[in-house]
């Protein structure tokens, strides 16, 4: 056994303190000639021998406490017998990153090829494997044994964090070695090597960084946006989004296989470029298809994004009571229509169950008259939802006064109900939309549509309301009377309609404009489709729509018969790798040194915690002994 801090053993002299106190306290009893001993009951006496035993036990425990603490602080360890580094003149430590991002085909061959050039004959070599923490540490007498062992290395599915391992590697060299070399083998993802406290590697250690494969190859991803079966299924067409996450120009082969047929297209992507590509296979006659980009190069820690349908659906929450289903029917019908601009799913929920819903899972919330049944807590949650970027579409009818006042009261939208205007008789002309804002993003779709009936349908009743200064009136019924108003609320929006979504108040829901206006409003304001996707790590298995998603082999699978689209993207690739020049200078110049190679500390299993436990145990035992004797004497 050796000690990392042997000087601290001098503190063992502190054992003399309890010993001295014991000897000093071991007093010769004072003699007192007392008139009569008849009142001193002999059976209650603490005998001299009993006291002696107690004192000895207490002394022993106190000495053990001190010895345990001193030993613990001296950091005892038993030298690692497997270490061959002691005494060797040339020493090399290889720190191998075995995190999931390193798990690639033939990577060990590439590592071996590079290391053979770095490790000479006669050198002693140590291998430290590291993923989320240090996994193993072995020292070898010869390079041949080292390479034999290297072939047995298994990569993990863990993310990498190599601070501990780097510390360990830096302290693994023997002090007397004449030449020291530390080789770090990794893909050097920035996240893995970003330390809170950078260890210091002494200047007498030669540093080598080995990246066993090119940096750029894993930084392109593919997302399948759309799958179409044309000509009665004989033609399969996919639309994919290919993205270059790197800062370099990339040439990418995108391959689409459907049955036995394969289509390949080479894309030259500029740095950070996203490009859509449409690939078509004719006469496929199969129900399975796959899109991939050199799939063997996908690292194991990539993420899949999975959703059902050709398009990731946007989920709209519609709080509705059973008795008020007219508005809901129009909304559901409008959103369930299949069209090219997106997929929707309407989730109808009772207002009484509103508090159980996770609002962040919804792309938009539509509030009708049923919203008047929501309570204060529900409106506060709606406020939080809009502040975080959510979209609320407000289209109440009879209960507009209640709904608007609550929106204002809870700070969701600055909107004030004025009155409900009705057409007085059948002779009166019905109201209609009279103005639109041409540059509104919502109305872009109507710009070049001459046959739009947006301004032509009749409105029989509407709720007049006023908005604050920050509101943008997209449509008006007449001057100063907004019909559709967009009010910003936190990071999100509140879209207020003067007419509810039913045919009683207006012909709006029957018009050609209702459907595109509602759908486009949600698409453009709800913040994307990512909420309806499921993220899966490569290798992870999950059942979706009754089918198991196979993510064992990277690639984008298209199972069109169940409208299930599995996409793979490379989220981590957007994270840069470390700049090795900076990294090197950082660990050379670090002042946050915890361990330096000039320390005399040897490698091996540490035992300080056993001694600390011994000290604590002895302390507790001392209390117990003292208490036991005290109780026995008191009886």
């Amino acid at each position: 056994m050796a000690f990392a801090a042997p000087l601290l053993l001098a503190a063992m002299a502190a054992i003399g303190i309890p010993l001295f106190l014991h000897l000093m306290a071991k007093d010769v009893p004072k003699v007192v000639h007392f008139p009569s001993l008849r009142f001193i009951k002999k059976d209650k006496l603490e005998t001299h021998s009993k006291r002696g035993l107690r004192d000895l036990l207490l002394l022993l425990m106190r000495c053990l406490v001190i010895a345990g603490v001193v030993f613990a602080f001296s950091q005892p360890f038993i030298k690692d017998k497997t270490s061959a580094l002691n005494g060797a003149t040339r020493q090399t430590v290889v720190l191998l990153d075995v995190s999931s991002s390193m798990d690639r085909k033939l990577v060990l061959d590439k590592i071996r090829e590079r290391l053979e050039k770095e490790i000479g004959e006669g050198e002693s070599v140590a291998l430290i494997t590291s993923a989320a923490s240090r996994l193993s540490r072995q020292a070898f007498d010869s390079r041949d044994v080292f390479f034999t062992q290297l072939e047995k290395v298994k990569f993990t599915q863990e993310e990498g964090h190599h601070e501990e391992s780097l510390n360990d590697a830096a302290s693994f060299f023997a002090k007397e070695a004449s030449a020291k070399k530390l080789i770090i083998v990794s893909d050097f993802q920035a996240n893995d090597w970003n330390f809170l406290q950078t260890p210091q590697v002494g200047k007498d250690i030669e540093l080598k960084f080995i990246r066993p494969f090119d940096k750029e190859i894993d930084n392109v991803s593919v997302l399948v946006n759309k799958v179409r079966r044309l000509n009665e299924g004989k033609v399969v067409q996919v639309q994919a989004l290919v993205e270059n996450h790197t800062a370099l120009d990339k040439a990418v082969d995108v391959t689409f296989t459907a049955g036995i047929k394969t289509v390949k297209e080479t894309l030259n992507l500029s740095p950070r470029e996203k490009r859509r590509v449409i690939l078509t296979v004719k006469d496929a006659g199969v129900s399975k298809a796959k899109v991939f980009i050199t799939p063997d190069e996908y690292p194991a820690d990539d993420l899949y994004h999975v959703w059902i349908g050709e398009e990731a659906p946007q989920v709209v929450l519609y709080p509705v009571e059973k008795s008020q289903t007219l508005d809901y029917l129009f909304v559901e019908k409008a959103l369930h229509v299949k069209s090219a601009d997106g997929a929707f799913r309407v989730a109808a929920r009772e207002p009484s169950n509103f508090n159980k819903l996770k609002l962040e899972e919804f792309h938009a919330i539509i509030l009708s008259d049923s919203a008047a049944s929501l309570n204060e807590a529900d409106f506060l949650r709606i406020k939080s939802y809009t502040e975080q970027g959510g979209l609320i579409i407000v289209a109440p009818g009879e209960k507009a006064g209640i709904v608007f006042s609550r929106l204002k009261a809870y700070g969701i939208a600055d909107v004030t109900y004025v009155e409900t205007i009705r057409r007085k008789s059948s002779v009166d002309l019905p109201f209609n939309f009279s103005k639109k804002i041409e540059n509104s993003p919502l109305l872009k779709m109507f710009k070049n549509t001459p046959d739009s009936d947006l301004l032509n349908f009749a409105i029989y009743r509407y709720n007049a309301f006023k908005t604050g200064a920050d509101a943008k009136n997209i449509l008006s019924i007449k001057a100063g009377t907004p019909a559709w108003s967009l009010i910003p609320s936190g990071k999100g929006h509140v879209l207020v309609s003067a007419i509810p979504f039913n045919h009683v108040w207006s012909d709006f829901t029957l018009s050609n404009s209702f459907l595109p206006l509602l759908r486009h409003s949600i698409i453009s304001l709800s913040g994307g489709a990512s909420k309806s996707t499921v993220n899966l790590k490569v290798g992870e298995r999950k059942l979706l729509a009754g089918k198991e998603i196979n993510t064992a082999k990277p690639g984008a699978e298209v199972l069109s018969e169940v409208l299930l689209v599995v996409n793979v993207s490379r989220l981590e690739s957007s994270v840069d790798t470390v700049n090795l020049i900076d990294f090197k200078s950082q660990i050379r110049a670090s002042r946050g040194t915890r361990i330096t190679v000039t320390d005399d500390k040897q490698s091996g299993d540490e035992y300080w915690h056993y001694f600390m436990l011994l000290a604590i145990g002895a302390l507790l035992l001392e209390f117990a002994i003292a208490d036991l004797f005290r109780k026995k004497t008191a009886q």
Binding site: P29, K30, V31, V32, F34, P35, S36, L37, K41
Partner: protein
């Protein structure tokens, strides 16, 4: 040793020692005699009977009631007071907090009482014993008699474990007539013999007073650290940590003292516990005050 502390005498000088019961005496004094008829203290009236001395007829009563009544007086006598001191070895104990040993303390009490009794004109006798009788001075009232008692008090030595039975038997043989018996002891040994002796004296119509003299160490047991206790009379030895047995000791001695006190009350003995760490003048004056209130 200066047996009579002037400070002590200053405090008790104004008190007369009054016997609680009637004592015999030859000389009229402050103490009530068992004989009625002569003396100066009026007791009662009784009907005149022929033969009564006419000088005791109360003519003022006759003038008011036309009846002859004779005045009855109680004679006042002096008394024999015997002071007995236990000189067993345990009486030599002197604790750290005390200025005097128990024997010295008993001697001072004896001297004070002897002086006071003698000054009243009463007779005082003094007895001391350990294994054997060290001193036996029968009651007397002369000044030289008092000096002899003081002289003997200076020569008292603690010895033996107290041969109570034999010594007290011999002492009681010299007792004649009624009086006051004052016993001073620590009662650590032979308490049964002492109580029996006092009971016998009480039976002989003596007024009995018992001073139990204890050191503060015996009452409070204030020892700490390890102590080897050696019995002063039986030489028995014990090693112990006093702080661990204090509670038990105090309970034991408390029960014993209560037992002695109850035994004294039962037998009509005036019991008084004295702690040698307390000021003597305060103790004596407090005691005599109490005695005076009884009369």
């Amino acid at each position: 040793m200066d047996l009579i502390d002037p400070k002590v005498l200053d405090r008790i000088g104004s008190y007369a020692l009054l016997s609680r019961s009637v004592v015999e005496g030859y000389i009229s004094g402050l103490h009530r005699s068992m004989f009625h008829g002569f003396g100066t203290e009026f007791v009662q009236y009784r009907n005149y009977v022929p033969g009564d001395d006419l000088k005791y007829l109360d003519w003022k009563v006759y003038a008011r009631t036309k009846k002859f009544c004779s005045k009855v007086f109680r004679e006042e006598t002096n008394m024999n007071c015997r002071i007995i001191v236990d000189c067993s070895t345990s009486m030599s104990y002197k604790g750290n907090k005390s200025k005097l040993s128990k024997l010295q303390y008993a001697s001072v009490i004896s001297a004070c009482l002897a002086y006071m009794i003698s000054r009243q004109g009463d007779k005082v006798g003094f007895y001391a014993y350990g294994d054997k009788i060290q001193c036996a001075i029968p009651p007397g009232s002369r000044q030289r008699h008092l000096q002899e008692i003081f002289s003997k008090l200076n020569t008292l030595k603690p010895e033996g474990s107290g041969n109570h039975r034999e010594c007290l038997t011999k002492i009681s043989e010299g007792f004649k007539g009624r009086g006051v018996v004052i016993f001073i002891s620590d009662m650590m040994e032979g308490e049964e013999e002492i109580i029996r002796f006092m009971k016998s004296a009480r039976f002989s119509h003596n007024d009995c007073i018992l001073f139990q003299v204890l050191d503060n160490d015996e009452v409070e047991f204030p020892f700490d650290k390890n102590i080897r206790f050696v019995g002063m009379e039986d030489k028995e030895e014990l090693i112990t940590a006093p702080q661990l047995i204090r509670e038990n000791y105090l309970a034991e001695i408390g029960a014993y003292l209560e037992e002695v006190k109850m035994s004294c009350q039962k037998n009509g003995i005036d019991y008084n516990l004295q702690n040698t760490s307390h000021e003597l003048d305060y103790v004596l004056s407090a005691y005599l005050n109490r005695r005076q209130e009884l009369h």
